[in-house]
């Protein structure tokens, strides 16, 4: 009997929503880590009961939590209370130290600040956790200020993949309004060495050697605020997505513009088509139809809410350009929430479920690919992230 587990990160804790395959009746558990910002919760594709959480606080910094029983209990990897005599060092699971060694990276000390001056790199939090497709102990972490880290011991320790910041374009990377975060990590299921990441505001980078070296793949992106029309980096990419059966095709929600690449990011073209606005944050792909994609149009970069107070998901069944509004069950008046970049996901049941969370605390689910929507919960804290696990 299949089951769905929705992992929801919010400004004030994490929640787990579970249902059977009908996806009509939901159990809500939480808050876990109450009072903390939960940027992301994601399970291992290899072992779905292994779940990782990014827990952060301006007061206490970064914490990584891990569950090995599907979210019933949580532990800080390597953080167990020690009997006497103590045997340190422990407690390295929240240590995200930028690599400054000359052997493994080209140390970069500054990036561009809002005013155009150079600013030192400072770790703030983990935005996104991406567990490996093959090893439950291996997880990638995208952090602010933008960098990519990896753990190979289930979260006990983290090392920077310094080749990304060592690419040399770092002085042109700049923070978006929400900070300079590495928010998207896509792993190519057909090519174990290939990783895509995206940074706001730097752009998309691709590695073909498991993260050792990187190249920017942003040709075709146009950003009004960048004077150079052919700028290699500096683009405010909000989110990228792929279908696992066709990993050379990428979709992107940029600051403005919905984009598509058919050549592993080597070139991009716009597919905004008839969208009412092409500003937005998340973009997601149907589990079984690689040409069916979803976005949530937002009015503008200064007005982060749906146009006309109507919350509408837009679906294209042709990989972009031709879009239809999905409104059935979504509020169509007086709605002024936002949907953040990591707050949309799909399940893999036969009738693909689509899920998204809002800054108003609702999590909406559609059990039929977007045709009908219903709020699973109405009143959570602002939702930062949504992930879905389809369990057998």
């Amino acid at each position: 009997m299949s089951k769905v587990r929705v992992l929801v990160g919010t400004r004030k804790g994490g929640f787990i929503l579970t249902s059977d395959a009908q996806r009509k009746k939901w159990d809500v558990s939480g808050p876990n880590f109450a009072g903390w910002e939960i940027y992301h919760i994601k399970g291992s594709p290899v072992d779905p009961n292994r779940i990782y959480t990014s827990q952060t606080s301006p007061w206490f910094g970064q914490i990584i939590q891990r569950s090995d029983d599907g979210g019933q209990t949580w532990n800080i990897p390597g953080g167990e209370k020690l009997p006497e005599p103590y045997d340190p060092p422990g407690g390295q699971s929240n240590k995200f130290a930028y690599d400054t060694s000359p052997e493994t990276g080209k140390p970069l000390s500054t990036h561009q600040w809002y005013d155009g001056t150079q600013h030192p790199w400072e770790f703030k939090r983990v935005w996104h956790l991406e567990p490996s497709l093959t090893d439950p102990d291996l997880v990638y972490a995208g952090v602010e200020d933008a960098a990519l880290f990896v753990t190979k011991d289930g979260g006990k320790s983290w090392q920077e993949l310094a080749g990304l910041r060592g690419h040399g374009s770092g002085p042109q990377w700049a923070p978006g309004a929400g900070g300079m975060g590495l928010h998207s990590i896509l792993l190519d299921p057909n090519n174990p060495g290939r990783i895509y990441i995206a940074i706001s505001a730097a752009g998309v980078f691709r590695s073909d050697d498991t993260g050792k070296t990187w190249k920017p793949v942003n040709k075709g992106l146009k950003s009004q605020y960048i004077p150079d029309p052919n700028a290699e980096v500096g683009h405010c990419v909000h989110r990228i997505a792929m279908h696992p059966s066709r990993p050379n095709v990428l979709y992107m929600q940029k600051h403005w513009d919905v984009m598509r690449s058919d050549d592993a990011g080597e070139s991009w073209h716009e597919v905004s088509g008839n969208l009412p606005t092409d500003f937005g944050f998340p973009i997601e792909v149907h589990a079984h139809e690689p040409e069916t994609i979803y976005v949530v149009p937002i009015k503008s970069d200064s007005e982060h809410f749906p146009p006309d107070g109507k919350l509408r998901v837009y679906r294209s069944r042709k990989g972009g350009n031709e879009w239809e509004a999905l409104t059935n069950g979504l509020p169509q008046r007086d709605c002024y929430v936002n949907v953040l970049r990591d707050a949309m996901a799909v399940d893999t049941l036969d009738s693909c479920g689509v899920y998204f969370g809002t800054t108003g605390g609702q999590v909406y689910a559609s059990p039929n690919g977007g045709d009908n929507w219903e709020a699973i919960v109405h009143d959570l804290p602002p939702v930062l992230s949504v992930e879905v696990q389809t369990l057998q």
Binding site: G35, W36, S57, P58, W59, F60, G61, Q62, I63, I76, G78, G79, E80, K81, L82, E84, Y86, P88, P89, G90, G91, Q92, N94, K95, A97
Partner: protein, 98 residues
């Protein structure tokens, strides 16, 4: 025996109820007490002070005997009343957020 009072979120993180009591060797200082605290509760590493620089996190303060010790040297001796266990060493989260 040194008594340490943690903010509620750190007590939850470390699964502690009430105060922590620590036996430390030599002349207790902030650094020695925090070293002992983190050694016993490794999950607190990095939550009170930076992993590398060992600087106090900006939104936390240290108090004891009704005095703010936040800007004292981490190697300065703690007050005698803290060393004797009469008074706790308080780690307090700043009030912020409106």
């Amino acid at each position: 025996m040194i008594r340490v009072v943690l903010p509620a979120h750190l007590r939850t993180l470390a699964r502690i109820e009430g105060e922590v009591t620590l036996d430390v060797k030599g002349q207790p200082t902030q650094r020695i007490v925090l070293d002992a605290l983190e050694a016993r509760y490794p999950m607190l590493c990095g939550t009170i002070r930076d992993h590398d620089t060992q600087k106090r996190r900006p939104f936390l303060r240290f108090f004891a005997c009704q005095e703010d010790l936040s800007h004292e040297s981490p190697d300065a001796p703690l007050p005698a009343a803290v060393v004797s266990g009469q008074e706790p060493f308080l780690i307090i989260g700043s009030v912020a957020g409106g």
